[in-house]
Amino acid sequence: MNKEFLKALLKRIISSLITLFLLISFLFVLIRLSPGDPTHKFLSAKFSPELKIKVTADFKLDQPIYEQYINFVANIFKGDLGISYNYRMPVLSVVWQFLSFTLLFASISFVIQIIISFYLSIKSIRKKGNTFDKVVSKLSLIVYATPAFVLGVFLIYLFSVQLNLFPSSGSKSLDFDSFSIAGKIGDYFWHLTLPIITLSSAGIAIFYKYLRDNLEETYQQPFILNLRASGYDEKVILIKHVLPNAIRPLISVAGIELGILLGGALITEIIFGLPGMGRLMMSSIFERDYPLVIGCALTAGLIIIISNFIADLLKMKLDKRMIKGLMN
């Protein structure tokens, strides 16, 4: 670790913190601007005005707006996001319950995306121009253009309605508790098969396209010709020389891809009725459960900020030139 690296790291951390701070302020403004009086959640208009004043004072809504803002920011940094109206629990614990599912769901999908897109792109680059390559390339365009909700419903129609192979919604069977541990895991994955296909397909198409383009570009560079002329094995060239060069640009794509993954998870969770962040967010919005809305939005933003940060860190590790890029 040299000085330059640390300096770049510090700069990156500060800019992430500023973004986080802006995100919090943005949420505050949004919630304050939205129509509707928060006290109406607890009071009918028929009650005495004194009671309303009391509730307003209890929630500190009578304080000037900047003090409310300071309170809001301070509470968030203390980790106190308030209590959900609906679940009657601290927001953090509710979010954590649902977040764990989405994290598991998204990371399984992420790993599957990486594995399949690697396999497909390497296979199609090695047999460049033949039928497999052409078919997969065309197919990836179609899959990329297919919205998650069309694909998901199509899968439900095919596998749940017609073939009756997979369940169409939920994350566990009714008699889940009676299964052994292996049975529980199996049941879980049985329910998650269709959602994971739905969530992964667009990502596979994106990764496939980037990876295939990168691989093709790398294969055309002079040093590959040199290696071939020196008599290296094709496999060695691919694994030791082509892949490391091709992966680098993919990392920044992966950072962006995580945002798409979270958005896709929202839709997928709603199609298949899964207990995840996306559905929590939707239901909390429709039930006007403001603390929970803020909690969900903040968590989602935080995940993206952290993942972008990690992606930049990896890029810095892999490519020293990136440090200079980040410094400017």
Partner: protein, 428 residues
């Protein structure tokens, strides 16, 4: 010589097909246009009162429809667009554009038309029902105005028509008419129906793509849904273009503190999962057509901003810009006259991709129930309702789904082609 289809061939084909299918409607529309014109001259105030969206829509589309052959005749040799060859993506996009403009001519039905739910609910594609026309109950119009309004309602179909009955079968029994709806038989007096050549006047109605759970024609709803999708797409792209251009110009031209602020703002928008942002705003502030357009526009300006900023930064210090500044040009003039034409080219590709993103987002929002509302048919909402009837009615979901995928596919393909034309260096 091999025949290569071009876009103007498609337009000509469309024009001839419509003339063959809808010749009556076209004549009626021309007459309506003429009558409205007469009314407009004779009584301006009443004409303005009668003016509503449907009337403007119908008259505009019949005008444009008449212009088509003239445009084709004049420009088919000159225009690059009309000469462009026809493939899957251009076919889809041109068809969408035609559906967008000529919706009231392509289909003579109201997208919200509902009648005799028992008869029309969840009909399979290509099924047909018979229409029994009742004799008009209203008294004969006296003034010219009433006549015009009656005529208008005859041509521009309202969402409900009390003068028809949808039936399976009609039989004449002595002095009464017996009609059947599914397995229920009903009777009606001879004097209540329109009579033609001694028998009741019955016409056929075909639902090409079937009907949905409310008995509405899916084909018509798809055509009108294309309008909403394109409208939202164009509107949102214009909004994000305005934001991206102005922010990008300011950030690139001024630099310094303003640049930092705008860049952080961009990071913020990129850091937030966009769909969460859109859902949050729409759910908090209510969803309507305008709200959807503005929010989708607000959520898509980051890419345009980055392009504009980097291009402005690159162009700012070039000689011709500096010269223009020295010659005393104002900043505004430099931006609009010198920089805008240069950055327009890289912007176009981004705009096309943005357009397809917005269409996708709009249908996703409609799917989630946060779209443009129930007053307009939307592909996403059709898919959502199709999902609920997936076991009973496969056509309710497959047609909107297919059209949505085809649209997104061709918009992406169009963007890629454009990119290749504009940046010839890019490899396939």
């Amino acid at each position: 010589m091999k025949f290569k289809p071009q876009i103007w061939h498609l337009l000509l084909f469309f024009w001839i097909t419509i003339i063959i299918i809808r010749v009556e409607l076209l004549i009626d529309l021309v007459v309506l246009w003429a009558k409205y014109f007469l009314l407009f001259i004779s009584d301006f105030n009443i004409a303005m009162q009668l003016l509503d969206f449907n009337l403007i829509d119908s008259i505009l589309s019949i005008k444009l429809f008449i212009i088509i052959p003239i445009i084709l005749f004049l420009f088919r040799k000159k225009s690059l667009w009309l000469k462009a060859s026809l493939n899957f993506s251009s076919l889809t996009l041109v068809m969408l554009l035609l559906a967008f403009i000529f919706a009231p001519i392509i289909t003579d039905e109201n997208p919200e038309f509902q009648k005799d739910l028992k008869m029309t609910k969840l009909l399979t594609p290509l099924s047909s029902v018979k229409i029994l026309h009742l004799s008009k109950k209203e008294n004969t119009p006296t003034s010219a105005l009433e006549k015009f309004i009656n005529y208008k309602h005859k041509i521009i179909k309202p969402s409900y028509n009390e003068n028809i009955i949808l039936v399976n079968n009609v039989e004449v029994k002595s002095d009464r008419i017996v009609y059947s709806q599914k397995n229920i038989q009903k009777e009606i007096n001879f004097s209540d129906v329109q009579i033609k050549d001694g028998i009741p006047f019955v016409t056929n109605k075909i639902f090409i793509l079937g009907t949905d759970e409310f008995g509405r024609d899916i084909f018509t709803r798809l055509i009108y849904g294309a309008r909403i999708s394109l409208l939202v797409g164009i509107g949102a792209v214009v909004v994000s273009l305005l934001i991206g251009l102005s922010f990008g110009f300011i950030a690139g031209f001024k630099g310094g503190f303003i640049d930092i602020i705008f860049s952080r703002l961009t990071d913020l928008f990129l850091a937030f999962p966009i769909i969460y942002f859109i859902v949050l705003i729409l759910a908090l502030f209510g969803n309507s057509l305008l709200a959807v357009i503005i929010v989708l526009g607000l959520s898509g300006w980051m890419g345009l901003f980055k392009i504009v900023k980097s291009e402005v930064l690159a162009e700012k210090n070039k000689d011709y810009i500096i010269t223009a500044g020295m010659l005393g040009q104002t900043n505004r003039k430099i931006l609009t006259k010198e920089i805008l034409p240069v950055i327009f080219v890289p912007l176009v590709v981004n705009i096309v991709f943005q357009f397809s993103n917005v269409i996708l987002a709009e249908s996703a929002l409609s799917y989630l129930g946060l779209g443009t509302g129930n007053s307009y048919p939307s592909w996403g909402a059709m898919i959502e309702s199709g999902q609920r009837y997936i076991i009973k009615a496969w056509w309710m979901i497959s047609f909107p789904g297919l059209i949505l995928v085809a649209t997104l596919l061709s918009a992406n393909d169009f963007g890629r082609r454009l990119n290749k034309v504009i940046n010839p260096g890019i490899r396939k």
